[in-house]
């Protein structure tokens, strides 16, 4: 396949590529934000103990 036609094919699928990347970024952002911030949120806002807050995450991860 000639390089120009390869680029044309990439350009054609660019909108769907961008959409996929956006969905992936949203998913990754939410996943990491929730997993890493939840214990701090539970301690600071819900006034749970440190041990209980990390236990919640542990149970969530196992499930």
């Amino acid at each position: 396949m000639a390089p120009t036609s390869r680029w044309a094919e990439v350009a054609k699928s660019l909108p769907s590529m961008i959409k996929t990347l956006l969905v992936m970024s949203l998913n990754a952002g939410a996943y990491y934000l929730l997993l890493s911030y939840i214990p701090t949120f539970l301690i600071e806002q819900a006034h749970m103990s440190e041990a209980s807050s990390t236990l919640v995450v542990t149970i969530g991860l196992v499930a």
Binding site: L35, S36, P39, I43, E44, V57
Partner: protein, 233 residues
């Protein structure tokens, strides 16, 4: 094995930092304003992610040129070395602002090498796995990432449940970071063992394809030669 252990180590450190954030905030920042201390702790966490794309690009390119295994072992050693050193940073009460500055520097170093480790481990396994088991073996990388998270949350739960807040602030929070040192040596050791086995097999066979990365380095050149011949015709 080395790729899986390296990824487990990376996510174990990542999750340990966030699960121990409330303790780290007290250790590294002035205790007058708890909210500001927590915000600063998460700001360091976020800032270290800025170097990840740069690290992934540099280590990925180096992996193509120097070999996936060498880069994987190097990134694991740098990553675990910097994580290990985080465990020995003195408190804010001892060295003042140098404590968060050192924390930021080491987190950035850790993040820089970790980005190369994650991408390198996936590519490495995909390249070396037998075609029929490629999907299964590559899934070790995300599996190790989830296991790292789980291990860190389990550890934090046990630590918070069994240790006093005073001990957590002096030594407790340091333990998961210090553990990363020996684990990193173990992970890069796995790589060395497999390399020794591979090289002893290679000396018997003396085939070019047994050299790590040789097959991949040969293909483009051969393709180039073929295309040049076709061009001359």
């Amino acid at each position: 094995m080395a790729g899986g252990l390296g990824t487990l180590l990376e996510y174990f450190d990542y999750a340990s930092y966030s699960y121990l954030a409330t303790t780290i905030a007290v250790v590294f920042f002035p205790s007058e304003d708890r909210a500001a201390a927590l915000l600063s702790t998460f700001a360091i966490f976020a800032l270290s992610f800025l170097v990840r794309p740069i690290g992934a690009f540099i280590w990925g390119s180096l992996g193509d040129r120097l070999g996936r295994k060498t880069i994987l072992a190097t990134t694991i050693l740098i990553m675990s070395g910097s994580t290990f050193l985080i465990g020995f940073i003195p408190d804010y009460t001892v060295i003042g602002l140098a404590a968060p500055a050192l924390l930021l520097l080491l987190r950035m170093t850790q993040s820089f090498s970790a980005s190369g480790e994650y991408a390198g481990a996936g590519t490495f396994i995909a390249e070396y796995a037998p075609p029929k088991r490629r999907g299964l073996l590559t899934s070790v990388v995300p599996m190790a990432a989830a296991a790292g998270f789980l291990l860190a949350s389990l550890m934090a739960t046990v630590f918070y449940a069994t240790m006093s807040p005073e001990f957590m602030q002096t030594w407790g929070w340091r333990i998961p970071f210090i553990v990363a040192g020996p684990l990193g040596i173990l992970a890069s050791g796995c790589d060395r063992v497999s390399r020794t086995r591979r090289s002893s097999g290679a000396s018997r066979r003396r085939s070019a394809s047994s050299r790590p990365g040789a097959a991949h380095a040969w293909r483009p050149r051969a393709a180039g030669r073929r295309s040049r011949r076709a061009f001359r015709r």
